[in-house]
Protein backbone atom coordinates (compact mmCIF):
# COMPACT_ATOMS: atom_id res chain seq x y z
CA UNK A 1 0.00 0.00 0.00
CA UNK A 2 1.39 3.40 -1.00
CA UNK A 3 1.19 6.81 0.68
CA UNK A 4 -1.71 7.79 -1.63
CA UNK A 5 -3.90 5.10 -0.06
CA UNK A 6 -2.71 6.05 3.40
CA UNK A 7 -3.71 9.66 2.70
CA UNK A 8 -7.31 8.53 2.15
CA UNK A 9 -7.10 6.48 5.32
CA UNK A 10 -5.88 9.53 7.26
CA UNK A 11 -9.05 11.44 6.37
CA UNK A 12 -11.19 8.48 7.45
CA UNK A 13 -9.06 8.08 10.58
CA UNK A 14 -9.74 11.68 11.62
CA UNK A 15 -13.43 11.12 10.90
CA UNK A 16 -13.46 8.01 13.07
CA UNK A 17 -14.47 5.88 10.14
CA UNK A 18 -11.68 3.32 10.24
CA UNK A 19 -12.06 -0.23 11.47
CA UNK A 20 -9.73 -1.67 14.07
CA UNK A 21 -7.41 -3.42 11.61
CA UNK A 22 -7.15 -0.43 9.26
CA UNK A 23 -6.51 1.83 12.19
CA UNK A 24 -3.61 -0.33 13.38
CA UNK A 25 -2.22 -0.52 9.86
CA UNK A 26 -2.24 3.26 9.52
CA UNK A 27 -0.80 3.90 12.97
CA UNK A 28 2.08 1.54 12.24
CA UNK A 29 2.71 3.29 8.94
CA UNK A 30 2.65 6.73 10.56
CA UNK A 31 5.45 5.66 12.91
CA UNK A 32 7.78 5.14 9.98
CA UNK A 33 6.54 7.62 7.35
CA UNK A 34 7.29 11.33 7.84
CA UNK A 35 5.33 12.36 4.77
CA UNK A 36 2.12 10.74 6.04
CA UNK A 37 2.70 12.04 9.57
CA UNK A 38 2.92 15.52 8.05
CA UNK A 39 -0.28 14.89 6.09
CA UNK A 40 -2.00 13.81 9.29
CA UNK A 41 -0.98 17.06 11.02
CA UNK A 42 -2.15 19.18 8.11
CA UNK A 43 -5.54 17.47 7.83
CA UNK A 44 -5.96 17.69 11.57
CA UNK A 45 -5.22 21.45 11.49
CA UNK A 46 -7.65 22.02 8.65
CA UNK A 47 -10.53 20.13 10.25
CA UNK A 48 -9.87 21.77 13.61
CA UNK A 49 -9.80 25.24 12.01
CA UNK A 50 -12.96 24.51 10.01
CA UNK A 51 -14.77 23.83 13.24
CA UNK A 52 -13.66 27.24 14.43
CA UNK A 53 -15.74 29.02 11.79
CA UNK A 54 -18.26 30.88 13.89
CA UNK A 55 -22.01 30.59 13.46
CA UNK A 56 -24.05 33.48 14.88
CA UNK A 57 -26.90 31.87 16.84
CA UNK A 58 -30.15 33.63 17.73
CA UNK A 59 -30.83 33.99 21.46
CA UNK A 60 -32.72 31.42 23.54
CA UNK A 61 -36.03 33.33 23.36
CA UNK A 62 -36.06 32.81 19.62
CA UNK A 63 -36.08 29.03 19.95
CA UNK A 64 -38.85 29.00 22.56
CA UNK A 65 -41.00 31.43 20.59
CA UNK A 66 -40.59 29.46 17.37
CA UNK A 67 -41.48 26.17 19.06
CA UNK A 68 -44.71 27.73 20.37
CA UNK A 69 -45.46 29.05 16.92
CA UNK A 70 -44.87 25.66 15.28
CA UNK A 71 -46.83 23.72 17.91
CA UNK A 72 -49.72 26.18 17.66
CA UNK A 73 -49.82 25.78 13.92
CA UNK A 74 -52.66 23.63 12.72
CA UNK A 75 -52.63 22.71 9.08
CA UNK A 76 -55.94 23.05 7.22
CA UNK A 77 -57.75 19.74 7.34
CA UNK A 78 -58.07 18.75 3.74
CA UNK A 79 -58.93 15.07 4.13
CA UNK A 80 -62.73 15.80 3.93
CA UNK A 81 -62.36 18.01 0.91
CA UNK A 82 -62.04 15.27 -1.73
CA UNK A 83 -65.19 13.30 -0.81
CA UNK A 84 -67.22 16.52 -0.59
CA UNK A 85 -66.05 17.59 -4.05
CA UNK A 86 -66.85 14.12 -5.42
CA UNK A 87 -70.39 14.02 -4.00
CA UNK A 88 -71.12 17.59 -5.14
CA UNK A 89 -69.89 16.80 -8.65
CA UNK A 90 -72.06 13.68 -8.81
CA UNK A 91 -75.13 15.61 -7.66
CA UNK A 92 -74.42 18.29 -10.21
CA UNK A 93 -74.09 15.73 -12.99
CA UNK A 94 -77.35 13.99 -12.02
CA UNK A 95 -79.27 17.28 -11.91
CA UNK A 96 -77.82 18.29 -15.29
CA UNK A 97 -78.93 14.95 -16.74
CA UNK A 98 -82.44 15.35 -15.35
CA UNK A 99 -82.67 18.88 -16.66
CA UNK A 100 -81.76 17.68 -20.16
CA UNK A 101 -84.54 15.03 -20.33
CA UNK A 102 -87.27 16.36 -22.73
CA UNK A 103 -90.58 17.25 -21.15
CA UNK A 104 -92.61 14.98 -23.46
CA UNK A 105 -90.70 11.94 -22.22
CA UNK A 106 -91.68 12.81 -18.71
CA UNK A 107 -95.31 13.07 -19.68
CA UNK A 108 -95.16 9.79 -21.53
CA UNK A 109 -93.60 8.12 -18.55
CA UNK A 110 -96.40 9.35 -16.35
CA UNK A 111 -99.03 8.13 -18.74
CA UNK A 112 -97.74 4.75 -19.77
CA UNK A 113 -99.08 1.56 -18.26
CA UNK A 114 -102.10 3.33 -16.90
CA UNK A 115 -104.67 3.06 -19.67
CA UNK A 116 -102.94 5.80 -21.63
CA UNK A 117 -103.22 4.12 -25.04
CA UNK A 118 -106.96 3.46 -24.47
CA UNK A 119 -107.52 7.14 -23.76
CA UNK A 120 -105.55 8.19 -26.85
CA UNK A 121 -107.59 5.91 -29.03
CA UNK A 122 -110.80 7.74 -28.14
CA UNK A 123 -109.36 11.18 -28.80
CA UNK A 124 -109.60 13.08 -32.12
CA UNK A 125 -105.88 14.07 -31.91
CA UNK A 126 -102.68 12.23 -32.62
CA UNK A 127 -100.43 11.33 -29.69
CA UNK A 128 -97.82 13.95 -30.62
CA UNK A 129 -100.41 16.68 -30.74
CA UNK A 130 -101.78 15.75 -27.34
CA UNK A 131 -98.28 15.84 -25.97
CA UNK A 132 -97.68 19.24 -27.57
CA UNK A 133 -100.73 20.59 -25.77
CA UNK A 134 -99.79 19.02 -22.52
CA UNK A 135 -96.37 20.66 -22.77
CA UNK A 136 -98.03 24.06 -22.38
CA UNK A 137 -98.52 23.29 -18.71
CA UNK A 138 -95.69 22.44 -16.36
CA UNK A 139 -94.61 18.84 -15.85
CA UNK A 140 -96.07 18.41 -12.42
CA UNK A 141 -99.46 19.71 -13.45
CA UNK A 142 -99.44 17.62 -16.62
CA UNK A 143 -98.73 14.52 -14.64
CA UNK A 144 -101.44 15.36 -12.17
CA UNK A 145 -103.95 16.00 -14.95
CA UNK A 146 -103.12 12.76 -16.72
CA UNK A 147 -103.51 10.80 -13.53
CA UNK A 148 -106.95 12.29 -12.97
CA UNK A 149 -107.98 11.73 -16.58
CA UNK A 150 -106.94 8.11 -16.64
CA UNK A 151 -109.09 7.49 -13.60
CA UNK A 152 -112.20 9.05 -15.14
CA UNK A 153 -111.42 7.94 -18.70
CA UNK A 154 -112.55 11.39 -19.97
CA UNK A 155 -109.92 13.60 -21.52
CA UNK A 156 -111.73 15.42 -24.31
CA UNK A 157 -112.51 18.62 -22.38
CA UNK A 158 -108.80 19.28 -22.02
CA UNK A 159 -108.36 19.65 -25.78
CA UNK A 160 -111.63 21.35 -26.72
CA UNK A 161 -110.08 24.82 -26.26
Amino acid sequence: MGCMEFERMIVDYLSKELGKEEKELLENHLKVCDECSNSLDEYKNILCAAKGIATPFPDENFWTARLKEISGYRPRRTFLLKPVILVTSLLLLVSLFIARVPNDRKVRTVGKGNGYSLVLHKLPYSEDRILDKIEFVDDASAAEVLDVLFETNNVSYLFEK
Binding site: E17, E42, A49, A50, I53, W63, L67, I70, P75
Partner: protein, 172 residues
Protein backbone atom coordinates in the same frame (compact mmCIF):
# COMPACT_ATOMS: atom_id res chain seq x y z
CA UNK B 1 -46.74 16.33 20.95
CA UNK B 2 -44.06 15.87 23.58
CA UNK B 3 -41.96 13.72 21.26
CA UNK B 4 -41.89 16.46 18.63
CA UNK B 5 -40.83 19.07 21.20
CA UNK B 6 -38.02 16.79 22.29
CA UNK B 7 -36.70 16.49 18.74
CA UNK B 8 -37.05 20.22 18.28
CA UNK B 9 -34.88 20.86 21.33
CA UNK B 10 -32.34 18.30 20.17
CA UNK B 11 -32.02 19.37 16.54
CA UNK B 12 -33.22 22.95 16.03
CA UNK B 13 -29.80 24.50 16.67
CA UNK B 14 -27.94 21.90 14.64
CA UNK B 15 -30.27 22.37 11.70
CA UNK B 16 -30.03 26.12 12.02
CA UNK B 17 -26.22 25.90 11.92
CA UNK B 18 -26.40 23.70 8.83
CA UNK B 19 -28.82 26.07 7.10
CA UNK B 20 -26.70 29.08 8.06
CA UNK B 21 -23.56 27.51 6.62
CA UNK B 22 -25.45 26.76 3.44
CA UNK B 23 -27.21 30.09 2.87
CA UNK B 24 -24.87 32.42 4.78
CA UNK B 25 -27.60 34.58 6.20
CA UNK B 26 -28.98 34.49 9.73
CA UNK B 27 -32.56 35.50 8.92
CA UNK B 28 -32.81 33.10 5.98
CA UNK B 29 -31.38 30.27 8.08
CA UNK B 30 -33.92 31.04 10.82
CA UNK B 31 -36.73 30.89 8.26
CA UNK B 32 -35.44 27.63 6.80
CA UNK B 33 -35.20 25.93 10.18
CA UNK B 34 -38.72 27.08 11.07
CA UNK B 35 -40.11 25.83 7.78
CA UNK B 36 -38.28 22.52 8.26
CA UNK B 37 -39.97 21.97 11.60
CA UNK B 38 -43.33 23.11 10.24
CA UNK B 39 -43.05 20.46 7.54
CA UNK B 40 -41.94 17.87 10.06
CA UNK B 41 -44.86 18.82 12.35
CA UNK B 42 -47.40 18.53 9.54
CA UNK B 43 -46.09 15.13 8.48
CA UNK B 44 -45.25 13.78 11.91
CA UNK B 45 -48.04 11.20 11.73
CA UNK B 46 -47.09 10.14 8.21
CA UNK B 47 -43.42 9.57 9.02
CA UNK B 48 -42.92 5.86 8.50
CA UNK B 49 -39.71 5.55 10.45
CA UNK B 50 -37.77 3.91 7.62
CA UNK B 51 -34.88 6.11 8.67
CA UNK B 52 -34.01 7.96 11.85
CA UNK B 53 -35.98 11.12 12.61
CA UNK B 54 -32.69 13.04 12.58
CA UNK B 55 -31.95 11.85 9.02
CA UNK B 56 -35.42 12.93 7.98
CA UNK B 57 -34.99 16.37 9.57
CA UNK B 58 -31.56 16.90 7.98
CA UNK B 59 -33.03 15.91 4.62
CA UNK B 60 -35.88 18.43 4.92
CA UNK B 61 -33.49 21.22 5.94
CA UNK B 62 -31.03 20.49 3.16
CA UNK B 63 -33.78 20.37 0.53
CA UNK B 64 -35.17 23.69 1.73
CA UNK B 65 -31.66 25.15 1.65
CA UNK B 66 -31.14 23.93 -1.92
CA UNK B 67 -34.51 25.38 -2.93
CA UNK B 68 -33.59 28.65 -1.30
CA UNK B 69 -30.21 28.77 -3.08
CA UNK B 70 -31.87 27.94 -6.39
CA UNK B 71 -34.41 30.72 -5.91
CA UNK B 72 -31.75 33.17 -4.91
CA UNK B 73 -29.66 32.05 -7.84
CA UNK B 74 -26.35 32.58 -6.19
CA UNK B 75 -24.65 32.10 -2.88
CA UNK B 76 -24.44 35.33 -0.95
CA UNK B 77 -21.19 35.79 0.83
CA UNK B 78 -21.08 35.53 4.58
CA UNK B 79 -21.01 39.03 6.05
CA UNK B 80 -17.45 39.11 7.18
CA UNK B 81 -16.73 40.76 10.48
CA UNK B 82 -13.55 42.23 9.03
CA UNK B 83 -13.52 45.41 11.09
CA UNK B 84 -13.70 43.48 14.29
CA UNK B 85 -11.21 40.91 13.16
CA UNK B 86 -8.69 43.49 12.01
CA UNK B 87 -8.76 45.47 15.19
CA UNK B 88 -8.77 42.63 17.65
CA UNK B 89 -5.54 41.96 19.38
CA UNK B 90 -4.02 38.72 18.26
CA UNK B 91 -2.30 37.02 21.12
CA UNK B 92 0.32 35.07 19.29
CA UNK B 93 1.55 33.71 15.97
CA UNK B 94 -0.42 30.49 16.36
CA UNK B 95 -3.65 32.46 16.63
CA UNK B 96 -2.78 34.51 13.56
CA UNK B 97 -2.16 31.35 11.59
CA UNK B 98 -5.43 29.82 12.73
CA UNK B 99 -7.39 32.92 11.84
CA UNK B 100 -5.77 33.07 8.38
CA UNK B 101 -6.44 29.40 7.89
CA UNK B 102 -10.11 29.89 8.75
CA UNK B 103 -10.34 32.63 6.11
CA UNK B 104 -8.72 30.36 3.55
CA UNK B 105 -11.01 27.47 4.38
CA UNK B 106 -14.01 29.78 4.09
CA UNK B 107 -12.78 30.83 0.68
CA UNK B 108 -12.50 27.23 -0.53
CA UNK B 109 -15.89 26.29 0.93
CA UNK B 110 -17.45 29.09 -1.11
CA UNK B 111 -16.17 27.49 -4.29
CA UNK B 112 -17.92 24.17 -3.53
CA UNK B 113 -21.23 23.16 -5.06
CA UNK B 114 -24.22 23.06 -2.65
CA UNK B 115 -24.02 19.25 -2.52
CA UNK B 116 -20.26 19.20 -1.83
CA UNK B 117 -20.81 21.84 0.79
CA UNK B 118 -23.50 19.74 2.48
CA UNK B 119 -21.21 16.70 2.57
CA UNK B 120 -18.44 18.73 4.15
CA UNK B 121 -20.77 20.32 6.71
CA UNK B 122 -22.49 17.10 7.68
CA UNK B 123 -19.18 15.30 8.11
CA UNK B 124 -16.94 17.86 9.71
CA UNK B 125 -19.43 19.87 11.80
CA UNK B 126 -22.26 17.48 12.55
CA UNK B 127 -19.91 14.50 12.65
CA UNK B 128 -22.37 12.20 10.92
CA UNK B 129 -21.13 8.91 9.50
CA UNK B 130 -20.72 8.34 5.77
CA UNK B 131 -23.69 5.98 5.99
CA UNK B 132 -25.95 8.63 7.56
CA UNK B 133 -24.88 11.24 5.02
CA UNK B 134 -25.53 8.78 2.18
CA UNK B 135 -29.07 8.25 3.50
CA UNK B 136 -29.72 11.97 3.80
CA UNK B 137 -28.39 12.70 0.34
CA UNK B 138 -29.84 9.57 -1.27
CA UNK B 139 -26.42 8.51 -2.46
CA UNK B 140 -24.01 5.62 -1.99
CA UNK B 141 -21.58 5.40 0.90
CA UNK B 142 -18.64 5.03 -1.49
CA UNK B 143 -19.63 8.17 -3.39
CA UNK B 144 -19.94 10.22 -0.21
CA UNK B 145 -16.62 8.91 1.08
CA UNK B 146 -14.82 9.75 -2.17
CA UNK B 147 -16.43 13.22 -2.36
CA UNK B 148 -15.49 14.06 1.21
CA UNK B 149 -11.89 13.06 0.59
CA UNK B 150 -11.74 15.21 -2.55
CA UNK B 151 -13.18 18.20 -0.69
CA UNK B 152 -10.79 17.95 2.24
CA UNK B 153 -7.87 17.35 -0.12
CA UNK B 154 -8.87 20.45 -2.09
CA UNK B 155 -8.92 22.51 1.10
CA UNK B 156 -5.57 21.14 2.16
CA UNK B 157 -3.94 21.92 -1.17
CA UNK B 158 -5.42 25.36 -1.22
CA UNK B 159 -4.48 26.23 2.36
CA UNK B 160 -0.97 24.85 2.34
CA UNK B 161 -0.09 26.01 -1.16
CA UNK B 162 -1.19 29.51 -0.21
CA UNK B 163 0.86 29.34 2.93
CA UNK B 164 3.91 28.34 0.95
CA UNK B 165 3.30 31.23 -1.49
CA UNK B 166 2.78 33.74 1.28
CA UNK B 167 5.90 32.62 3.11
CA UNK B 168 7.75 32.86 -0.18
CA UNK B 169 6.56 36.44 -0.63
CA UNK B 170 7.69 37.38 2.84
CA UNK B 171 11.07 36.00 1.93
CA UNK B 172 11.36 38.31 -1.07
Amino acid sequence: MAEFDEYYRMFAKKLYALAFRMVKNQQDAMDIVQESFMKAYQNWGKFRGDSAVSTWLYKITLNLSYDFLKKRGRIVQLPEKKDFEDTKIRANEKEIMKSDMIDMIKGVIETLTPKQKSIFMLKSYDELTYKEIAKIMKSRVGTIKASYFQIVQKIRKSVYDKEVNRNGMHGI
